[in-house]
């Protein structure tokens, strides 16, 4: 190989423009929490509400993270995502129902094994159904947004009815294992153990996703594909395969989120997915379609705001998330983190 130093190299200006990292959206979560403190009044109540909001936000993040990547990669708006949540939650009722002896025992280890088994089964089944869902429902309507909306909504309805056929139309209990019940006192504030677990699990999922997206080649491809999928294909990568992989992982995470949501509410209904669906879309729009970090912040904001307004002004809570979305979009029309999509 010839050495280009023999020829004049292509010169370029030395300095790059200084652009500070966009950290402002990261401050929104602590800002909202601090803003709520004087309105709530009691510090212990505020701590309880904040943990409840963070736990709910983390669960929403786990569910919505796959949805935002699916949209980012292929512009697919999947209104049927909720069916994987419901499926995961109902699978958990079956698995934990079979392991009742383990869940009611006082052993933390047995409780953990039972919950982990329920989560694993829920994720596997949701991921498996995700494969069929992508093949039968999503693939025929790539690049056709209107048909996508109609067919995925149809998929949601059919999925919900199938769940009623299998598990029945009535609510099913999904009780917390004994070791996960009760609260921990933090000063005067009582914080439910399960909410702490949900926060930790949510942080672990976020850390794992961040690691995969920033440190692995598959993650690089996902980030690149969200920006410019045509160029990723021009570099020799099959983005459809990548999308299928992301869709399966997203479905599995929705299944995991369903288990966590069910345990949070301690009961499961077939309409769970369709009820949560609206929240999911609010979260991914707030975060910026395709941004995992934006989705994380959006989910925490929605979780916290829902709990604060639910306590302070229950009627406002009904539309607080829509209000939040409107405010964020007036500030940043493409969401908290715009991805410069081509």
């Amino acid at each position: 190989m010839t050495t280009p130093s023999e020829t004049a190299a292509v010169q370029a200006p030395e300095a790059l423009p200084v652009v500070h990292p966009d950290r402002l959206p990261l401050l929104l979560v602590p800002a909202l929490a601090l803003l709520a403190l004087p309105f709530v009044g009691s510090f212990s109540t505020w701590v309880t509400l904040t943990f409840a909001g963070l736990a709910m936000g983390m669960i929403i993040f786990i569910i919505a993270s796959g949805l935002t990547l699916v949209f980012g990669l292929m512009d697919v708006l999947n209104f049927g995502h909720g069916v994987f949540i419901t499926l995961g939650a109902f699978m958990a009722t079956s698995v934990l129902g079979l392991m009742t002896a383990w869940t009611v025992s006082g052993s933390l280890l047995l409780n953990l094994v039972a919950v982990l088994a329920a989560m694993l089964v829920a994720m596997t089944v949701a991921g498996g159904v995700g494969v069929a869902y992508e093949r039968l429902i999503i693939r025929p309507v790539y690049g056709q947004p209107l048909k996508q909306i109609l067919i995925t909504m149809g998929g949601m309805i059919v999925g919900e009815e199938l769940i009623k056929v299998i598990w029945g139309p009535q609510a099913r209990p999904l009780l917390l294992p004994t070791a996960f019940q009760g609260s921990i006192l933090m000063g005067d504030a009582a914080v439910e153990k399960y909410r702490i677990i949900a926060v930790i699990l949510g942080l672990l999922v976020f850390a794992a996703m961040t690691w995969v997206l920033s440190r692995t080649k598959a993650g690089l491809l996902i980030r690149a594909g969200v920006q410019d999928r045509e160029m990723v294909e021009s570099l020799g990568y099959r983005i459809r395969r990548l999308f299928i992989g992301v869709f399966i992982v997203g479905s599995a995470l929705a299944g995991l989120g369903g288990v966590m949501w069910g345990l949070y509410q301690q009961s499961v209904i077939p309409q769970l997915g369709s009820q949560v669906n609206v929240l999911l879309f609010i979260v991914i729009i707030i975060g910026g379609m395709g941004s995992v970090t934006g989705c994380f912040i959006g989910a925490l904001l929605v979780g916290l705001l829902g709990n604060y307004t639910g306590f302070l002004a229950p009627k406002v809570a009904l539309f607080s998330n829509i209000l939040l979305m409107v405010i964020v979009l007036l500030w940043r029309p493409e969401g908290l983190f715009s991805l410069g999509k081509k």
Partner: protein, 245 residues
């Protein structure tokens, strides 16, 4: 005469209701730099995108190394050894320069896996890439982004480079240095199909030239012949090199 590396015969391309290419015939010889010239809307970019499979040819054949690739998907075409630098450069602006390189190096999972000697050669051509290695590509200037786009295409050896208007919007000094880089690429016998509107830039690099108009190739020959014939330039491109300089 040996078989050309790339051969298009009677290629038609439709985009929606629009019929853009009307039977393109084009040959790119191994180890040469072929320039595709033409006015705006002549079909140059569509020809490159059709070769890459980004738009499917509705009729005709595209043979690369003797194999018809007209119906193949884009990733397979890229894997067969064709690199593409689009007009918009296709830079992943949220990724660093290094991450852009890793994606282009299909055989490498990490920077350490990349061919160090090849990487140094690329850095020799485009020193800014080494300097801004860990910077987000979105922060680079227009000229630096163009360098990144070309550097990314050659980070691993490719049999054919398709490059769409690399001089577009660049300052004269950067264009001149880009010419130096392309000459270095030519010295390594890299086969290049270059779309250009800047005739002065094209003249300094091209071995062969094809001129497009109305979705067809209306002239093909050596660059030397076209550069030396002002009347032909006037009739094909509506300009003369003398007026352009």
């Amino acid at each position: 005469m040996s078989e050309p590396l790339l051969k298009l015969e009677g290629v038609h391309t439709h985009i929606g209701a629009y019929h853009i290419l009307h039977g393109v015939d084009l040959q790119v010889a191994q180890g040469e730099l072929t320039v595709l010239l033409g006015r705006n809307g002549a079909g140059k970019t569509t020809t490159l995108r059709t070769i890459m499979g980004l738009w499917q040819a509705s009729q005709g054949t595209i043979h690369f190394e003797g194999t018809d690739i007209a119906a193949k998907p884009t990733p397979e075409i890229a894997q067969s050894g064709i690199a593409y630098v689009p007009e918009n450069m296709g830079i992943f602006s949220d990724l660093t320069v290094a991450e852009n390189f890793i994606l282009a190096a299909r055989g490498s999972r990490r920077i350490e896996d990349m061919d160090a000697e090849r990487l140094e050669w690329v850095f020799g051509l485009f020193p800014a890439m080494k300097r801004f290695w860990q910077h987000p590509a979105g922060l680079l200037s227009g000229g630096q982004k163009q360098m990144l786009a070309v550097a990314r295409a050659i980070v691993e050896p490719r049999k054919l480079l398709l490059i769409d208007e690399p001089s577009k919007g660049l300052a004269p000094a950067i264009i001149q240095n880009m010419i130096v880089a392309f000459r270095e690429l030519k010295r390594t016998d890299t086969t290049i199909l270059l779309v250009e509107q800047n005739f002065n830039f094209a003249r300094q690099l091209g071995d062969q030239v094809a001129v497009m108009d109305g979705g067809r190739v209306v002239h093909a020959g050596t660059m030397a012949d076209l550069a030396g014939d002002e009347a032909l330039q006037q009739s094909l491109l509506g300009l003369s090199l003398a007026a352009h300089q």
